[in-house]
C-alpha cells in the first residue's frame, strides 16, 4: 500500500478525485504521521483532529454526490498560526494570545476551506513572525527534520518542518523579510512570497503591514503553484490587495522551461561572506540555468546593501503600532486584574509578561524610530531607501526576466547558536529582504546540499510584481533538472525520523 504521506499534493488530489483514496484516509494518515513524529519535530502548536476529519468527510460526501471537486480538495495542509481560524486557537507564537479563539476566519483560511483543503492544524513560528529560526516562539523551538538539533528557519519554521517531515504536503507561511523563503531553503522545500497584494492579508495577524505577505509552501513547485492559485486573488476586505487576475502560476509550473529567458545574478550578493557550500551550490544552479537555455547576466543593484538596515527600521516601526492593540482589554492574556491595578497598569503588566524579548526589542526600536524628532532620520530615511530599492529592481527587470541569488547566506544553524546575537540572526534575511521592500514576487527552490554539512541550500528567484508565474517557470525547470540529475527529489536524502 502506498504511504499517503509521501504523495505530492497534486497526486493526493488526484487520488481523492478518482476515488483511489478517500479524503478521510488521507487526513487520518497525516494525523497518524503527526502522532508518530511531531513529538520530535514540534512543528504544530495545535492539531485540529476533529476539524480535519470533518473537512475530509465533507469532501468525500461531495464527491459521492457527484460534485466537481477543486484541484486541492481533500489535500491536508499545515497552517501557520498567524492566520485566524474561527473556533480554533490562534497564538501567533505568543503568550499574549494564549487561549484566544478567533470569532472569524482569515480570507486565506476561508478560501482553503471553500477549496476543500483539509487544515490539519496550526504551525509553530517565531513570536509575531519576528525571527529567522522559530526559536522566538513562546512555545519552544521546532527542529529541522534534516537535523533536529538545528533550526528549521523562521519565522515559518513550523510550516517548513511539517513539509520536510511529511506531516503535510502543503503548508502556508507569511513572508515579511524572508519568513517563507528562508525556512524553505534550510529544509529543502519550496516557498513562495507572492507579489505584495497578491494574497489577502485579512485575518493574517499583522507584523509589518506594508511588508507582510502570505504565500504557499510545498515540497514541489507544482504543488506550490496549485496552492498559490487557491489562496491568491483580490479581496475587498484588504484594501492593499491587487484587483487583477492571479498570474498563471500553475500553467507556468507545468511549462517549467527557461529557454530564451534572461536571468540576472545580483552582483552585490556575490562575494558576500557566505558559506562555501552555499556559494558552490548557487554557482552550480546558475550553470544549470545556462545549460537549460537561459541567458545569464550580472546585474548591479547598489541599493540592496541598504535594504537590511532600512528593513529594521520600517518593520519595527509598523510593528510597534500594530502590536499596540494587545492591551488586555478585549482578548488574550490579562495580568494584574485583581482590583488593585488601574487599566493602564494591567496593560503594562500584560505586555511585560506576554511579549518575548525579541518582540519587545522591536517595539522599542519602532517606537523610537517613529518618535518626533527622529522620524525623518529613521523611518523617513528608510522609506527613501525603499524607493531606491524599488527603482533598482525596475532597472534590473528592464534587462532580465528574473533575478537569482542564494536564498540565505548559510545552511541551517544549530538551535541556540544565534539567540544571543540578534545582528547575526538578522543577517539570515540579507538576500530576501529587498523583495519585501519593493513588493516583488520571490521563491526559494532547493538546489542541493552543502558539501561541508550535507544540509539543504535554496536558490532564490525574484520576479517583477505580478509576474509570479516567472518564478514557477524557472523554479519548475530547476527542480526538474536537478531531480533528474540526482535521480530523486532532494528531500529523499533527509534522514528518517
Amino acid at each position: 500500500m502506498t504511504d499517503l504521506t509521501r504523495l505530492t499534493a497534486a497526486q493526493t488530489a488526484e487520488a481523492v478525485a478518482s476515488g483511489e483514496s478517500s479524503a478521510v484516509e488521507v487526513a487520518q494518515a497525516h494525523l497518524n504521521r503527526i502522532d508518530a513524529v511531531d513529538e520530535k519535530v514540534r512543528a504544530f502548536l495545535h492539531v485540529d483532529r476533529e476539524g480535519a476529519l470533518a473537512a475530509a468527510r465533507s469532501v468525500d460526501e461531495r464527491r459521492a454526490r457527484g460534485e466537481r471537486l477543486g484541484p486541492l480538495a481533500g489535500v491536508p495542509l499545515a497552517l501557520k498560526d498567524i492566520f485566524t481560524t474561527k473556533g480554533v486557537p490562534t497564538t501567533v507564537g505568543s503568550r499574549i494570545l494564549r487561549g484566544w479563539v478567533p470569532p472569524y476566519d482569515a480570507t486565506v483560511t476561508r478560501r482553503l476551506k471553500e477549496a476543500g483543503v483539509v487544515i490539519l492544524g496550526k504551525t509553530n513560528m517565531d513570536e509575531f513572525a519576528m525571527g529567522s529560526s522559530t526559536e522566538n516562539s513562546a512555545f519552544g523551538p521546532t527542529g529541522n527534520p534534516w537535523d533536529l538539533t538545528r533550526i528549521p528557519g523562521g519565522s515559518g519554521g513550523g510550516s517548513s518542518a511539517a513539509l520536510a517531515s511529511y506531516q503535510a504536503p502543503l503548508a502556508i507561511g507569511t513572508d515579511t523579510g524572508g519568513s517563507i523563503r528562508q525556512p524553505a531553503a534550510v529544509t529543502g522545500t519550496v516557498g513562495v512570497k507572492p507579489t505584495y497584494g497578491g494574497v489577502s492579508r485579512y485575518g493574517m495577524v499583522a507584523f509589518s503591514s506594508s511588508l507582510d505577505q502570505g504565500g504557499p509552501c510545498a515540497r514541489t513547485v507544482l504543488d506550490a503553484a496549485l496552492l498559490h492559485e487557491v489562496m491568491a486573488g483580490h479581496d475587498p476586505l484588504d484594501s492593499t490587495s491587487i484587483d487583477a487576475p492571479v498570474p498563471p502560476v500553475v500553467e507556468a509550473a507545468r511549462r517549467a522551461d527557461v529557454r530564451g529567458m534572461r536571468i540576472g545574478v545580483v552582483k552585490e550578493f556575490v562575494g558576500q561572506d557566505y558559506q562555501a557550500g552555499v556559494k558552490e551550490r548557487f554557482t552550480e544552479a546558475v550553470e544549470l540555468l545556462r545549460e537549460l537555455g537561459a541567458e545569464v547576466l550580472e546585474i548591479s543593484c547598489p541599493s540592496f546593501t541598504y535594504a537590511l538596515p532600512a528593513y529594521y527600521l520600517i518593520a519595527p516601526s509598523e510593528a510597534s503600532s500594530n502590536l499596540a492593540r494587545f492591551d488586555a482589554m478585549r482578548y488574550g492574556l490579562r495580568v494584574g486584574d485583581d482590583g488593585t491595578h488601574s487599566a493602564e497598569e494591567v496593560t503594562a503588566l500584560t505586555r511585560e509578561a506576554g511579549f518575548g524579548p525579541e518582540v519587545k526589542r522591536r517595539i522599542m526600536l519602532g517606537t523610537y524610530a517613529l518618535s518626533s524628532g527622529y522620524y525623518d532620520a529613521y523611518y523617513g530615511q528608510a522609506q527613501k531607501v525603499r524607493t531606491v530599492v524599488t527603482r533598482d529592481f525596475a532597472a534590473a527587470f528592464e534587462q532580465v526576466d528574473v533575478l537569482v541569488s542564494p536564498t540565505t547566506p548559510t545552511t541551517a544553524f544549530p538551535i541556540g547558536e544565534r539567540v544571543d546575537d540578534p545582528m547575526a540572526m538578522y543577517l539570515a534575511d540579507l538576500f530576501t529582504i529587498p523583495a519585501n521592500l519593493a513588493g516583488n514576487a520571490a521563491m526559494s527552490v532547493p538546489c542541493g546540499l552543502a558539501r561541508e554539512d550535507g544540509l539543504p541550500v535554496g536558490l532564490q528567484i525574484i520576479a517583477p510584481t505580478m509576474a509570479d508565474d516567472r518564478l514557477y517557470r524557472v523554479g519548475g525547470a530547476v527542480e526538474a533538472a536537478f531531480t533528474a540529475r540526482w535521480g530523486h527529489p532532494l528531500l529523499e536524502e533527509a534522514p528518517a525520523l
Binding site: 492566520f83 485566524t84 485575518g203 499583522a206 503591514s209 492593499t240 516601526s317 492593540r325 478585549r330 517613529l370
Partner: protein
Amino acid sequence: MSVMDLVSYQDALASYDPVMGLEVHVELGTRTKMFCGCATTFGAPPNSQVCPTCLGMPGSLPVVNAVAVESAIRIGLALNCEIAERCRFARKNYFYPDMPKNYQISQYDEPIAFNGYLDVEVDGGTFRVEIERAHMEEDTGKSTHVGGATGRIHGAEHSLLDYNRAGIPLIEIVTKPIEGAGARAPEVARAYVAELRELIRALGVSEARMELGQMRCDANLSLRPLGTTRFGTRSETKNVNSLRSVERAVRFEIQRHATVLGEGGTIVQETRHFHEDDGTTTPGRVKEEAEDYRYFPEPDLVPVAPARAYVEELRGTLPEPPRERRQRLQAEWGASDHEMRSAHNAGAVELIVATVEAGARPDAARKWWMGELARRANEDGVELSELAITPVQVARVATLVAEGSLNDKLARQVIEGVLAGEGDPDTVVEARGLKVVSDEGALGAAVDEAIAANPGVADKIRGGKVAAAGALVGAVMKATRGQADAARVKELILQRLGVSG
C-alpha cells in the same frame, strides 16, 4: 476661579486682543462605520454594533467607507476648500482603553480638504473665518467610569467599555487662527459653530445635534497685548457642546487669561473642561510634555485620490449656502431682519419654506408658524418641528382662509383639531362643522333677523353712520356661531340698508 474673581470682560478687551482656534468634530450620518460594515444606529445596546475590525481584533483590516469620503469632500467644497488630489490616512498612536487598536486612523499632513473659509454673520455684518483643513478620522469607543464621584476615571472602581461608537466616521474641521474679532470673539465663535452646523445639515451629511455629541467643539484661545502680533500661549477647552457654551467658554477664557496675565502670571498650555452650571473652565490633564503621537502613513490603506471630474460632480450637488439662502428667502418673503432672525432662532425657516412649497402664501406661512404654532410649541415645551402638524397641513389651513372658507378664529380651531390628532384640516372642518356660512340664503336670513331685532342701529346706518354696522355684524356672527365671513356679512347689511360701503 469663579467669574467674580476675574477682571471684567471690558477691561480684558481694553488690554488684550483674543486669538481663537476652533476645532469641530462632526459625526457623519453614514449608515455604516468609517472602516467596517457595522451599523451606526444611535442608542443600540452596548457592544451590539461591533465586528473584528472595529474591535481591533488581530488580523482585521480597515476598508474606507466611500460615502464618508464623499461627505468629507462635499463638506470641504462647501467650506470653499481645495480638495487633495491624493491624500493618505495616518495612524495617530496613543494608548487608551476605549481605542480598540490603540491608534486612531486619522489624517495628518495630507488632509482631504484644506485652505477654505466660512463667512458668518455677526451683528448684521459678515466675518470671514478661515479654514485650515478638514480631515477624516474614526471615533473612539465610550468609557463609563463606575464608582467614582464625578463619572471621571479618577476614583472610579471600574470602567465599562462600549465600542458601538468606535469607528464611526468623523470629520474634523480646523480653523486657522481667528484674529481681529476683538470683543466680538465669543459671538464669532458661536456664529461660526452655528453656521457650520447649518451647513452640515443642509449638506445632509449629519444631523449635527450637539446635545447628542454628533457635533463637538474644542475652543482654543490665547491673548496677546493689543498692538502686538505674536500669539500668546493657548488653552484648549475641550468638548464644548452647545452654541451657548461655546460663547460662554470663550468669554470666560478671555477673562481668565487676562486675569492671569494681568497679575504677571503665565498661561499654561493645557486642556480645560467647561462647566455648564457656572460657565467656568477648570484644568484637565496638564501636558507635561507635548504628546508624541508618532504619526505615520497608515499602511493598511491605499491613498484616497478623488478624480477631478468626481469632485466637480460633487460640487454640483452642493446646496445653496445657508447664509445666502436666508438672504434670498428674506427678500422673497418680504420679512424684516428681525422677523427673519426670529424665524431662524425658532427653527421655523425650513417649516415655512415647506409650507410655501405646499401652496401657502409666505406671509400666511410665517404668520401661522411664528404665531399660533410657536405659541403651542412654547406651551408644550417642544421644538416647532416636533408639533403634530405638517407644513402641508398648515398650507391647507392657509388656503382655506385665503378662499374665505375659514376665518382666523375657525382656522385656529382647525389647527387645534389637527394637533389633537383628529386628522387633516379638511377632516377636522367636516367633523367639527367649522365651515364659514357662505350659504347666501341662510346668511341673508340671519342679516334680516339682526336688522329687525335692532331697528335703532339700522336707522343710524341708514342715516350714514356706517361704523355702527359693527354691532349688526357682531349679532350675525353670534347667530352663526362665528362661522360667517365677517366681511361678507357687513357687505350684506349695507346692501340691505341701501348704503354703499
